[in-house]
Amino acid sequence: MIIAERKPINEILDMVSDDEKILLLGCRGCVSVCSTGGEREVEILASLIKLGMKKQGKSVEIIEGTLVRQCDREYIDSIDQWKGQYDAILSMACGVGVNFIANFRPSTKVYPAVNTSFFGGSPEQGVWTEQCAGCGDCILHLTGGLCPVARCAKSLMNGPCGGSVNGRCEINPDVECIWQSIYDRLGRTGNADAMQKIAPIRDWSTAGHGGPRKVLRDDLTV
């Protein structure tokens, strides 16, 4: 899922400083699961904004709402239930949600309350790690299921580089050298020979280097 982190409170206060009525909008999708922008976090941020504004001698009215998702048009449309009640929307969804509000509500001010960090998972409570970079041309069948695009500091297709030491990456000993792990896993699954194959120069156009991407499923469009 998409992992995000709330922005520093002062950055958020600066964004909303000219607005008297704010619709603070959470999302029940990814950002609820990573405890950044769900109902509970909306409640916390609403309190922090009110306290911060009060400290500056200003008052602010906050409507708290949470959509099922902010990345589907049908849910964006449900924002109309608060029509005319706010000056700006502060979205706690990932960047997709903020963009969707901007796309479909052309004259509504919208701000991001979170930094969208990466696609990742939670190996233990309170910890999230990056796993996939959404490159659009998955090669995990060649790399033992471990992603070198997202998890190798250099996104090498033919790793490891010369900086790999004892299974650790040269950028930081806390970082696993994913190519060492790929090699180990290939070995354990009887596939060590795959390391000998040279991956060809990669076409990165599917990874966003060819402009914004789009998926069209004709069977679903009626």
């Binding site: 520093p8 409170i9 002062n10 509970r40 409640e43 916390i44 309190s47 922090l48 009110k50 306290l51 911060g52 009060k54 400290k55 500056q56 001698g57």
Partner: protein, 140 residues
């Protein structure tokens, strides 16, 4: 003008049990400051960050949580969770330019204990020295 802070204390069932059994008068006799309001919860681990922030929104000058010792919490990790939430609020207060000492976590023995009164007095002194909470939007 003499400043009497509004202090909201959140205590779990176990840390406050015997002390509350004494009643308001008993507590007063023991030296409990009258401006400390006790809010009892089943376990401090049940306290949400938003509940503690609401206390500040409602005008508290100081807030504290009294939970079990970290290694002997009745609900195992309840008071550890509370301590983490208090720490998160300390960080948020600092970000807002407010003294993080306005909120504190105390781990107390269960049952009757003079420490229960002691921490109330300690917070009362600390917050009196700090003055009114800037989050109330009033000038000091």
């Amino acid at each position: 003008m003499v400043f009497t802070p509004d202090i909201q204390a959140f205590c779990c069932h176990y840390t406050s049990q015997q002390t509350i059994a004494e009643g308001k008068e008993g507590l007063k006799e023991d030296g409990m400051p009258e401006n400390v309001t006790l809010n009892r919860v089943v376990c401090t681990g049940k306290l949400q960050i938003s509940t503690l922030l609401k206390a500040f929104e409602n005008g508290a000058d100081g807030v504290y949580v009294a939970g079990c010792p970290t290694d002997t919490c009745h609900n195992i990790k309840g008071s550890q969770r509370a301590a983490k939430r208090v720490a998160a609020i300390k960080k948020a207060l600092s970000e807002l330019g407010v003294e993080p000492e306005r909120i504190e976590m105390f781990h107390l023995e269960r049952g009757f204990h003079p420490e229960f009164i002691e921490v109330a007095r300690k917070m009362n002194q600390r917050i009196t020295d700090l003055g009114p909470c800037p989050l109330k939007g009033e000038t000091k």
